[in-house]
Symmetry: C2
Subunit: 192 residues, 2 copies
DNA sequence: ATTGTTTGCCAACACTTGTTGGCATGACTG
DNA sequence: CAGTCATGCCAACAAGTGTTGGCAAACAAT
């Protein structure tokens, strides 16, 4: 059923998708126009509609993303956070889809849904492997720090965070992630 | 020079500004239309133009914001982070300007500039009062965690972070902010 | 060679956007 | 009271948006 032979237009489809990811990453959902995407792909705007149906569905296709998180069960407990953080930074820098998703998710409902889905469907299971209490809360905390870092570093270009070297960034932030993942529940909370 | 008598249109001006903050906070810069803002303020769209000149300048006026950060010199060192964090959460929830700024800063250049300016001009000085090394780096780290928290909690509505009680949120995140503010430089960095 | 299908472009649509000029009504000033 | 200015609305513009239908050329199949 799904094994369709390669079409002659596959290259065009791919060019559109690549241009879409770039534009969505650079401009966000509303400012990235179909005309601009089509121009980048050196194609007519109507082609985008024919192959992807609508701007909404084009974005859905462009925002498909796999974090490719590593198995953490094999790594020593003390290195879990820095490994995870390193992976995130790499993933963020070599695939603009995440930036596109972040930029769009702030104004676009579907993008926000996708962002939530990625973190709950991909990050939560990894945290669950660590066999801690409240894995979903811990995953949420990790998400808050990582998304905040990405926001400052890649989107806002906030001075010190955007220019900080990767080792220094990891040295500063890994302890935070480590505590969110494996640290004890704060006393105030378990008490109340 | 600047002491102009109150005009009869001051109420309208205020209504426009209030509606603008709401719309920019809810929809971001591009999706918040002048027509919608005018409708909320129950006046004609052309009034918005007359009183604020352009959409860009309307946003500039709506994004004026004072964090009203407290003096930290008087508070005990151990409570500096939770005090700062509490203040941020309160400020974020009782004034939608910050959400407007966050939503807009992801796609709008001027908004991003304003966001950077707020953090460098208002947060950095407070951190400097603590007399630590590298106050700007520390302020950037604090910003990354606080903006990430706000993003997950108020904009994306990421499940655990959006529903977590304020005390629990503070209990989890204050230690992070505390370390960013007053913790020692990570060994890996001072070594390298 | 003659179909039929795919790939692509052009032109246009319906709509929304920010923005502008003119015209009325009301409120103050002399 | 006459005149000036502020306040507000209406209508319209020019530009840009997503989206659609039709038509020409290139390809595939018979």
């Amino acid at each position: 059923m799904t094994d369709e032979r390669p079409r002659r237009s596959d290259a065009t489809r791919a060019a559109i998708l690549r241009a879409a990811k770039e534009r969505f990453a650079a401009d966000g959902y509303e400012r990235a126009t179909i005309r601009a995407i089509a121009a980048d792909a050196a194609i007519d705007p109507s082609m985008v509609m024919r192959y992807y149906g609508s701007k909404e569905r084009l974005f859905a296709a462009a925002a498909e993303f796999d974090l490719r998180l590593p198995e953490l069960s094999g790594t020593p407990a003390a290195e879990v956070a820095s490994m995870l953080l390193t992976h995130f930074l790499e993933r963020w820098e070599d695939d603009e889809t995440l930036t596109a998703l972040l930029r769009a998710s702030v104004t676009n409902q579907a993008a926000a849904d996708r962002m939530r889905e990625i973190f709950t469907a991909q990050l939560v299971p990894v945290v669950e492997q660590l066999h801690t209490d409240q894995p979903r809360v811990r995953a949420g905390l990790v998400a808050s720090q990582i998304l905040g870092l990405a926001l400052c570093r890649y989107v806002l270009a906030l001075a010190p965070m955007a220019t900080m070297s990767r080792p220094e960034t990891i040295a500063w932030i890994a302890p935070t992630v480590q505590r969110y993942l494996l640290g004890p529940y704060p006393a105030d909370v378990t008490a109340g």
